[in-house]
């Protein structure tokens, strides 16, 4: 128990971050059936904007986070309008390839903005911790859990309870029918990109919390969301949350117990765990835990 509980809590913290990132992928996929490979770049831009507002401009941290998310929402909406909208009706593969191009462009922009230094997001948690009885919990893990799952919950509520959310869900189910019902499908696409980018921006802030600061290369951490969306189901927000937590906890517990019980697997085996889960999922349940099984007539 000495190792289990801290490992679980650490896993829930990092898993919430994975869940947030995975949901940002899923929202765009549900709206457009495109896996957006530009999410890592949007994430690191979120880190940058948070650092800009909180550290360089000295704004209160919560305001800085909200402004960074708003900035990312604008970036996401503009990207959709400029780069993705013209591809409506084209093969999904083409659109996915364009997102790779967008990733490269936005990464170069992020590299230029961040420059040769290291950015710190100015979070109030740092390496502080809380004591709950004999248990210690890092504040950064609490923040990741509360903010990550809170943001996902808020998006879920928005999609379920609001008229715009209903329109977005209708668009994701059948674009032509939604169009026939008067839904502005193009606007829904933009909104999906804006929400997704804002969530990626929040994830960027959460990646930057803790001790060390960030370099531009940290963008690639967002790719950890890919095993998560495969496990959860690429079109399921609930699946993304459950799978994010599962992957985070699996990773954290592997980190704790593998050196004790299977040291022959080598150092840093926890890094491999998400991809082992990914492969197992693809073999056993390729549409994921909560994904929609696709049946095709052959």
């Amino acid at each position: 128990m000495d190792l289990l509980l801290p490992g679980l809590l650490r896993g829930v913290g990092i898993g919430s971050l994975y869940a947030l990132l995975a949901v940002s992928f899923v929202i765009i996929y549900r709206a457009t059936t495109v896996v957006n490979f530009a999410q890592p770049a949007l994430m690191i831009l979120g880190s940058y904007f948070t650092a800009l507002f909180a550290v360089q401009l000295g704004l209160p941290f919560p305001l800085a986070v909200l402004l960074a998310m708003a900035a990312l929402a604008v970036v996401g909406a503009v990207t959709e309008r400029v780069a993705m909208r013209p591809l409506v009706g084209q093969p999904v593969f083409s659109a996915a390839m364009v997102t790779v191009g967008v990733f490269i462009v936005l990464t170069m922009v992020a590299n230029r903005l961040i420059g040769p230094g290291i950015i710190v997001v100015g979070d109030p948690w740092g390496i502080e911790f809380l004591r709950v009885g004999s248990l210690t919990v890092f504040q950064s893990d609490v923040a990741r859990t509360v903010l990550g799952l809170g943001a996902v919950g808020a998006v879920g509520l928005f999609l379920k309870r609001s008229r715009v959310g209903l329109a977005m869900r209708a668009t994701s189910l059948d674009q032509e029918t939604a169009l026939a019902q008067g839904v502005d499908v193009g606007r829904m696409f933009s909104l999906a990109w804006a929400i997704s980018a804002a969530l990626a921006g929040l994830a960027g802030m959460l990646v930057g919390t803790g001790s060390g600061g960030l370099e531009a290369t940290a963008a690639l951490i967002a790719l950890k969301a890919l095993p998560v969306i495969i496990l959860g189901g690429i079109d399921s927000i609930e699946g993304a949350v459950v799978a994010g937590l599962l992957v985070g906890v699996a990773e954290a517990l592997t980190r704790v117990y593998q050196p004790l019980y299977a040291p022959w697997l080598g150092a840093n085996f926890d890094v491999v765990v998400p991809y082992v889960i990914l492969m197992a999922t693809l073999m056993v349940r390729p549409y994921g835990l909560f994904g929609t099984p696709e049946v095709e007539r052959v």
Partner: protein, 465 residues
């Protein structure tokens, strides 16, 4: 929406993306994008009083003379740079390293150049992203046009081109301190390293700590990137431990954050380890996560801080870490070992740096590294020119026994020869201090260590730096 309109829009979007991409990368890649107006690789066209030359040297003025200084009547020496300038793990340092090099050669050009030639290091600069394949490809691309490499960043990357350099008689200044670069069997006599090696760095640091640290060293450990410079750092720590009868707790392998996500695993392993001092062979953000993570975990467990201490080096440090939440932990637990004093040093070479760059210090210590690494290349060019032979073969022939004057930044030394005699075994020791421009306050300069001095340096400490 008709199809032609859609395609026009698509083409427009792609065009806009291309323009944006080009604009964003313009500074680094301008030289790449530009057609390579090759300096003539023709056989010696000696002027009456000048040296003979072949590849990478032209009678015409430089395309992009360093410092923008073009001396009337001078020809041009083209030097290549293969570095990590955008997205690789060392880009934060390497961009500043390149600036140090530019200013160094700008100063040389400002002083009239080398034997009637200005120096151009920008036309053949390539970003190889710390990727050996990209490094080898870029080398092949620029090789027909350069006399030598003013920088080849990294050990695995430099090793990837070493056979080709050997065949082409191309010498290089390495951006790195792998111990193998000091030995003919590894470097083929082509790699002109400056300062100590990572291996000796660990020894000097631990020697200094033994004499000046807050307590005796009980057990030594190492943390780093395996197969990279972390291996050489760890090898030095292990050799130091063996020489001093101190237990070595082993090497804790980790990776950059973008590969492993976080340093949690390394922190866990450090906390489990018996070692009370660790030498680090990682990047700056990883350093902060490790030191900060250990401090936080120990504080949470009620363990007094200071039971685990850390030694780092140039590549593990970035001044921006003093703005990170780990700064208090770094101040208390981290000591930095550098091959030379940073920008604010007291030597004539440091004064020249400040004259070139200005009083406002550079963003990190890459600048002083980029500057200092160029002295052997300058010495080789001057020696070859003095011999009347600025061909590649002529340049290579002067390396063995080449005397290098670092203007006080490092002790003067000789390239080649017996590494056990010629290798530099001095360091500067620093401690984190937010008041200093580079985040480090120099505690001691020109530091030597008994173990490092006595070490029989007869082979590379590790198979790969």
């Amino acid at each position: 929406m008709n199809r032609p309109t859609r395609w026009r829009r698509t083409a427009g979007v792609l065009g806009a993306l291309a323009i944006l991409t080009a604009a964003c990368g313009a500074e680094e890649t301008a030289e790449e994008a530009a057609p390579a107006p090759a300096p003539e690789a023709e056989e010696a066209a000696p002027e009456e009083t000048g040296p003979v030359y072949d590849v990478g040297v032209t009678a015409e003025a430089c395309e992009n003379p360093a410092g923008g200084v073009s001396n009337a009547g001078n020809g041009c020496i083209y030097l290549g740079i293969l570095s990590d300038l955008t997205e690789g793990p060392f880009a934060p340092l390497a961009v500043v390293v390149q600036r140090g090099q530019q200013d160094f050669w700008g100063r040389v050009n400002g002083d009239g150049g080398v034997a009637g030639f200005d120096v151009d290091i920008d036309t053949y600069t390539r970003d190889t992203k710390y990727n050996p394949q990209d490094h080898a490809q870029a080398y092949r691309q620029i090789e027909p046009n350069i006399l030598a490499l003013a920088q080849s960043l990294g050990t695995p990357t430099t090793e990837a081109i070493l056979d080709s350099m050997d065949a082409d008689d191309v010498i290089a200044a390495p951006a790195g301190w792998w111990s193998g670069f000091n030995f003919e069997e590894n470097s083929k006599g082509l790699v002109l390293a400056s300062g100590y090696s990572y291996c000796l760095e660990s020894m000097i640091g631990l020697d200094w700590f033994t004499a000046n640290g807050p307590r005796p060293i009980g057990t030594v450990g190492a943390v780093g990137y395996p197969g990279d410079y972390g291996g050489d750092v760890a090898a030095g720590a292990e050799k130091w431990a063996a020489a001093n009868g101190v237990p070595f707790a082993g090497f804790i392998p980790t990776g950059p954050n973008f590969l492993v996500g976080s340093q949690d695993a390394a922190v866990g392993a450090i906390l489990e380890s018996d070692a009370d001092i660790f030498v680090l062979g990682v990047g700056p953000t990883e350093t902060a996560q490790i030191v900060g993570g250990v401090a936080a975990a120990q504080a949470a467990a009620g363990i007094p801080l200071g039971s685990k201490l850390f030694l780092g080096a140039g590549a593990t440090w970035n001044p921006a870490l003093m703005q990170s939440p780990a700064a208090p932990a770094l101040v208390g637990l981290y000591t930095n070992v550098s091959p030379w004093e940073d920008y604010d040093g007291e030597s004539a070479g440091h004064a020249a740096m400040r004259a070139a760059f200005g009083d406002e210090p550079p963003i990190n210590q890459g600048y002083s590294a980029g500057w200092t690494w160029q002295y052997p290349i300058l010495a080789a060019l001057e020696a070859a020119a003095a011999n009347g032979d600025l061909t590649r073969a002529g340049l290579r022939s002067v390396v063995d026994g080449l005397a290098v004057d670092y203007e006080g930044i490092l002790p003067s030394t000789s390239m080649g020869g017996d590494p056990n005699v010629n290798v530099t075994r001095t360091a500067a020791i620093g401690t984190p201090d937010a008041e200093q421009a580079n985040g480090l306050r120099t505690l001691a300069r020109g530091v030597t260590g008994a173990t490092a001095d006595a070490y029989e340096y007869t082979a590379a400490c590790s198979a790969a730096g």
